[in-house]
Subunit: 257 residues, 2 copies
């Protein structure tokens, strides 16, 4: 057994040395709006790879999402962090973030259009296996990937990390064609119990392939390394972060089969 593990470790090291992660800033459009996304991939792969679209939190596309892209590339995927707000629109205060996120949360049609523009951009990237794309999102991005699913987008699966689960049009659950995984802090004060119940009811009624994981002791933003609790009810939780990432990994493997 020890020999086996040692061999495996050596092979892993060899593979790691071979890989090189490249990133590109990509401009794309939604109508007249210019958006600026972040693409990451491993030059070690020659053929097309399954790809993961990443949707940002309410602060817009930051280093946080870029780091998640890097982690996804290390799992063997192409990763693309989309931009919902628009090029140059990067909130610097909670108040600005709230205004931006609020604009899209109250206009789900626009939100769906914006995230679908990102999906279209990702789909046409050369290194991408266009038939194997999933989407993940954090907080505001969790809400967004659920809206992507509700828009009927042709993706393999969506994963929401501490996302808002409410839907102004629960009947749109019937449009969902992909697998859905919601990763939720059991003590998240920003997602009321009634939203969880409505979310379950929506997916149940639409016979969606859905899963919901609740992490005890976790609140909002449990994956966000910078969430230090200064915003009440939002705090990083190493245990829930690690577990939710592993749950996502398992989900992606299954979704891309």
């Amino acid at each position: 057994m020890k020999t086996f593990v040692a061999t495996l470790a050596l092979l892993t090291v060899a593979l790691t040395l071979r890989a090189e992660i490249k990133t590109e800033t990509i401009e794309y459009k939604d109508g007249d709006t210019t958006l600026e996304g972040h693409l990451a991939y491993d030059t070690g792969f020659t053929g097309p790879r399954p790809a993961v679209l990443v949707v940002h939190q309410w602060m817009g596309l930051t280093d946080y999402e870029k780091k998640r892209c890097e982690m996804l590339v290390k799992l063997g995927y192409v990763a693309f962090a989309v931009d919902i707000y628009g090029k140059g629109i990067r909130p610097t205060t909670v108040s600005e973030a709230g205004a931006q996120a609020g604009k899209y949360k109250s206009d789900r049609a626009l939100l769906r259009q914006r995230v679908n523009a990102g999906l279209a951009c990702l789909r046409k990237q050369g290194r991408v296996d266009a038939g194997r794309i999933a989407a993940i999102g954090y907080c505001f991005g969790g809400t967004t990937v659920l809206e992507l699913a509700r828009s009927g987008a042709d993706v393999a699966g969506v994963v929401s990390f501490h996302g808002g689960l409410d839907s102004p049009k629960p009947e749109d659950g019937k449009n969902i064609k992909c697998k859905v995984l919601a990763l939720h802090g059991a003590d998240d004060p920003f997602v009321p119990e009634k939203d969880l119940a409505a979310f379950e009811a929506e997916l149940r009624a639409a016979k969606v392939d859905w899963q919901l994981v609740q992490y005890g002791g976790a609140v909002h933003s449990f994956t966000d390394w910078k969430a230090d609790g200064s915003l009440k009810g939002a705090q990083y939780n190493e245990r829930a972060d690690r577990r939710s990432w592993a749950d996502m990994e398992q989900f992606l493997v299954e979704s891309f089969k």
Copy 2:
């Protein structure tokens, strides 16, 4: 990458050939009551191994639990399917099963005593790393491993598969020292919504390290290959079976660290 996978496959085959799964029927006692459990292990391992206690469904210890033991051994663990009902008490009808399960469900002190007798038996087995034991249970057995946790047992973690989550003494949540994972069919008609809410409240109040996974579209007995739907609301679900087993695997690895 292909070479890597091929090498890995060869090594796996080599390991598989080396391993031999042995089983033993083990008699043990709870006071004056004789119980008959099923131990399974891999002769290929020399040192002590982490161990998993398996608690049966309402039909008592059957080939189903023995098969799960075999699967656990293939993951590298010693597995022990305990006997809650007593030697020779193996219900053959739903009515008999209901009577047996009901007896223990209505006497949680006896249920805790009985499962702890199984744990004590497992702990003293020579091949077992006594400091690394977890417990899993199906249906009635799910309820039982939660009672094991509530008894304050010194185990690393417990996993309930489609188990009843109710507790007549929710204040006993404070005794729980181990990690708890509840794997639940989102459409299970045998576990009312109020039991789920009470379960969460119990673990939350006691600050337990808990997780709850809900599988959309799954009802009761989703892991039971023989559940063909003839009992309304209880049906095998290949997808939820596969996912819940993987979720358990991940949980055991973390629990045994």
